[in-house]
């Protein structure tokens, strides 16, 4: 079909007078037939070990003079921070910029800025990283600075105090953001105070961190025994390996992969609405969910398909209904936060205050729907499959994207041919699987519904829905009057 139309167009282009016919020669109501699906080209990479035991991954990509470099550390704040010192990881990564044995903080900043790049340093809940993107020409000098930060940082006391002051202002500002309050209280309700997933940095923990804590965290955490070094771009394996062995020669063997063992989850309660008052709020921040499975679950693919249909894209059931049809929100979606531990399932949206109760009813309707009340259609299955499979090449657009696509396989213990077999695995998911996933992972009688909004306007209507009893919480998730 496509070939046929194409030949007509070529013909007409050479005979301009006949061009208007081109407009009549096709039916605009019919979507063009897409061409053959492009062949999946997964970047190739090589793995090895550095002499200090860290894993090395190198992928060449030569079309631009760019190199992406990262060291990924397995384990994060959930594994390495004490509950009363939350924030020490963030302080430590910030302190890596505060000077080394041979560079003052200002010199460090100047040297990096003149190279046109910056070194990223961060620790998340279950992994951390040091990384940079540079031009090929600046790769060596930038790696040298990263090595200096990693190995020779001096952690001056005065810098910690300055950072503490900045962090406290930042916390105060976050505390005023309804979205931040919503996700924090949601975590607290799901996991409780005793579980790392339910803990968050507060003024008290920020004030408790000392220089000794920072030095100890640095020593314990940034170890090659739990590290994956990933280099992608305009560079080959021998060059990368030689540069790393030479520049990071002081980074000696030590450390191991953390266990990722988590305490048991608190007992899950019957479905409840937890309401946090935000007087005068123009919108209510709604989070609905419960603890979910780890990334290693064999249910991963069917869960991905189920969530895609429920709230994983613009025309998903949740967004199509609550945003597009009802106009209650600027956007509603849902996701599973997969990791080593029981990351949550979340359905989320910011809802216009006056329609909070109506929107919650629609959320519940769609959750019942995915449980079978509204059967999954063939079209929904097809869209989920096409979208999940055909978006894959987009991950390989940039050297940073390629780096993270490869690294994530090793972080999550996935097979090396994961991307080659991905399409098959997605295609194997059936409607029955989707239904089974909904029932297994989104039990309607054990949902936590956390709403941050203007209590005076929304409480009575929420009660009127009869969906669940209402418990009032303060902005830290503690019981409130």
């Amino acid at each position: 079909m496509r070939r046929h139309m194409w030949s007509i167009v070529v013909f007409l282009l050479t005979l301009p007078v006949a061009a208007p016919l081109a407009q009549q020669s096709f039916d605009r109501t019919r979507p063009p037939t897409p061409g053959k699906t492009p062949e999946l080209r997964v970047p190739k990479w090589t793995t090895g070990k550095l002499s200090n035991g860290a894993m090395l991954i190198v992928a060449e990509r030569r079309d631009l003079p760019l190199v992406s470099f990262s060291i990924t550390f397995l384990g994060g704040s959930n594994q390495f921070e004490k509950p009363d010192k939350l924030g020490v990881a963030a302080f430590t990564t910030s302190m890596l910029r505060e000077g080394t044995r041979t560079r003052s903080a200002e010199q460090l900043a100047l040297d990096l800025q003149l190279l046109g790049t910056s070194v990223g340093a961060s620790v998340g809940s279950e992994s951390g990283s040091l990384s940079f993107l540079s031009t090929t020409e600046k790769f060596g000098p930038t790696l040298e600075i990263l090595g200096d930060m990693l190995l020779n940082s001096t952690f001056p006391d005065a810098a910690l105090e300055r950072l503490r002051g900045q962090r406290l202002v930042q916390l105060a500002q976050q505390n005023a953001q309804p979205g931040v309050i919503g996700s924090r209280v949601f975590s607290r309700v799901l996991y409780g105070q005793a579980h790392p997933f339910g803990q968050y940095t507060t003024e008290a923990t920020v004030k408790a961190v000392t220089r000794d804590d920072v030095v100890a965290f640095h020593k314990d955490y940034f170890e090659p025994g739990r590290a994956i070094v990933t280099v992608v771009g305009d560079i080959d394996l021998p060059t990368a390996r030689a540069a790393i062995e030479k520049t990071l020669s002081g980074w000696t063997a030590g450390g191991s992969k953390p266990s990722f063992a988590y305490p048991p989850l608190p007992e899950q309660r019957a479905t409840t609405i937890y309401l946090v008052d935000k007087p005068g709020a123009a919108q209510s921040v709604v989070n609905i969910g419960l603890p979910g499975p780890p990334r290693s679950t064999p249910d991963y693919m069917p869960l991905q398909v189920m969530n895609f249909i429920l709230g994983g894209h613009f025309q998903s059931r949740l967004n199509a209904n609550i945003r597009e049809e009802k106009g209650y929100s600027y956007g509603v979606n849902s996701w599973f936060a997969y990791g080593k531990g029981p990351g949550p399932f979340t359905a989320n949206g910011d809802i216009v205050t006056e329609k909070t109760a109506e929107a919650l009813q629609e959320f519940m309707k769609e959750l019942r729907g995915i449980h079978g009340e509204r059967p999954i259609t063939d079209e929904e299955m097809q869209t989920a499959r096409d979208s999940l499979i055909q978006r894959l090449p987009g991950q390989f657009e940039s050297v940073q994207g390629i780096g993270s696509a490869i690294t994530t396989l090793y972080v999550n213990d996935l097979p090396a041919d994961y991307y080659q077999t991905y399409a098959k695995a997605v295609s194997a998911v059936t409607k029955e699987d989707v239904l089974r996933m909904a029932k297994k992972y989104i039990p309607l009688d054990r949902l936590n519904i956390v709403i941050v909004g203007d209590r005076k306007t929304i409480e009575a209507p929420l009660k009127g829905t009869g969906i669940a009893p209402i418990v009032l919480l303060d902005e830290h998730g503690n019981p409130s009057k």
Partner: protein, 476 residues
């Protein structure tokens, strides 16, 4: 409510008025010239007889393609009392068109592994998709139908539904965010009432409610015509085949009326305006904004470098003094915002507890005066431009990012290759240029806005000399 089928009559009528000579006139692809071989986005361009400009740039690194339709219309084309219109319209463009029911657009972009979105600013409205390369023809079909046949599927119900969503967008981004209303307060203070840049892109709640179906239709007829649009395609495609598709889908859309573009000049302020806004915020913030210049004025580059000299890195003047040496601020930022016709230079600062806005303002002024007197050093200039090459080359990895650079160049400067001129112009800025623009633009004619927690006006900088702003409905 959403699915509307295009009446056949209108379709035939349209083809009758299609230009007889629909053959494209390819102009020679413009070979890029310049020093660095990596600062290059190869492209070719041509214009269809109906005025649609086409820019093609092949990049087969991944089997995907970005399609970008750039319409030269933004909030500055609105009228007072009808603000928020251009952006509301952006939403309407996703509600289906004459031949394509609502939902199909998402189905054939998101639903096949691609993505889509739109964005509106003061000057232009942009629609874009990134799709697997085998869906390029589909994307052209989708974009051409909403360019050529949108009104056949538009009714008041659709308009109202999108109006509600836009109001939610306003609540989420502006009204329910601490400091969220600062942008519109500064615009209203910097530009005289009725000036096309004096209102915010998202508009006021009242104006959004007032837009009628007829308003929307007239707006579309004038601005969403091929002669006001640029189609840019970047990625994995076959040029000859793609040109055929462009002709097929866009060639028959009739040219619209000529668009009159009122000449909008940058403004100056005769004196300092001091404002005080009490908001649901945890800590005070200070904003200083000067009217500067837009894209047509080369001073934009020196102003951008000036911003880097002030806050672009740890040793930048304001950052070093206020965040590190005095530790009076938790953060500080300066930037030059360059629109098509006008621009603003803004400094914003969050104090640390115990540090008054007035003292910080005084400190900022002293540092600015020193810079105005002595100019920056060569090293400061070098620091300000050092990241340009990496940023540019990293940007080349994104099909969509490249399409935006090419389209902006074509739309604003009549040259898709303008990115290179801008790149070189910023690198060519001298210490003398920075000194000159600092003296020329960072004058007493400025807006100084203190945002303070409700009930604490005394935390403002010089509250007695400041006018309270931000009451409900006051800022339009």
């Amino acid at each position: 409510m959403f699915n509307t089928v295009r009446p056949l009559i209108a379709f035939l009528a349209l083809t009758l008025v299609a230009p007889v000579a629909a053959q494209q006139k390819p102009s020679a692809g413009k070979p890029a010239a310049g020093k660095s071989p990596t600062i290059d986005i190869p492209f070719e361009q041509y214009t269809l007889p109906n005025g649609l400009r086409v820019i093609l740039s092949q990049d087969r690194s991944v089997p995907r393609v970005a399609v970008n339709v750039w319409y030269h219309v933004g909030s500055k084309n609105e009228e007072k009392g009808r603000t928020g219109f251009a952006h509301l319209f952006e939403h309407v463009m996703f509600t289906g068109s004459g031949n394509i029911p609502y939902g199909v657009h998402d189905q054939l972009t998101n639903g096949v592994g691609g993505s889509n979105n739109g964005t509106t600013d003061n000057d232009r409205t942009l629609y874009f998709e990134t799709v697997p390369s085998n869906y390029l023809e589909t994307a052209l079909w989708l974009e051409s139908d909403r360019m050529g046949f949108l009104l056949e599927a538009l009714d008041i119900d659709k308009l109202n539904a999108q109006r509600d969503i836009v109001k939610n967008e306003r609540r989420q981004r502006i009204d329910n965010q601490p400091y969220g209303r600062v942008g519109e307060i500064l615009s209203a203070a910097t530009y005289p009432p009725g000036h096309p840049y004096s209102w915010s892109v998202i508009g006021s709640m009242e104006d959004l409610s007032a837009a009628s179906e007829e308003d929307v239709k007239n707006f579309f007829r004038l601005y969403y015509a091929p002669n006001n649009a640029i189609l840019t395609i970047v990625g994995d495609f076959d040029p000859a085949q793609t040109k055929g598709w462009i002709e097929k889908y866009f060639g028959g859309i009739p040219r619209g009326k000529p668009i009159e573009r009122p000449k909008i000049e940058p403004v100056t302020l005769a004196a300092e305006k001091r404002l005080l806004f009490e908001d649901a915020v945890p800590t005070p913030r200070l904003y200083i904004q000067w009217p500067t210049v837009g894209r047509r004025n080369a001073d934009q580059f020196a102003l951008s470098v000036l911003a880097s000299v002030l806050t672009g890195g740890r040793t930048a003047r304001l950052t070093k003094a206020l965040v590190y040496d005095k530790q009076a601020a938790a953060n500080i930022g300066a930037f030059q915002s360059t629109s098509e016709d006008v621009g603003e230079f803004e400094i914003s600062v969050t104090p640390r507890p115990g540090h008054a806005l007035a003292a910080i303002e005084q400190e900022i002024d002293a540092i600015l005066e020193k810079l105005k007197a002595e100019g920056p050093t060569e090293q400061e200039l070098q620091l300000a431009t050092a990241s340009q090459e990496l940023n540019f080359v990293a940007g080349l990895q994104s099909h969509l990012g490249k399409s935006m650079q090419l389209a902006d160049g074509a739309g604003y400067h009549n040259d898709p290759g303008y990115y290179r001129k801008a790149y070189e112009a910023r690198r060519a800025v001298t210490t003398e240029d920075v000194k000159r623009v600092a003296n020329k633009y960072l004058t007493k004619g400025r807006v100084v806005l203190s945002v303070v927690p409700k009930g604490k006006p005394e935390l403002a900088s010089k509250p007695e000399a400041s006018t309270k702003v931000g009451g409900a409905g006051e800022v339009k």
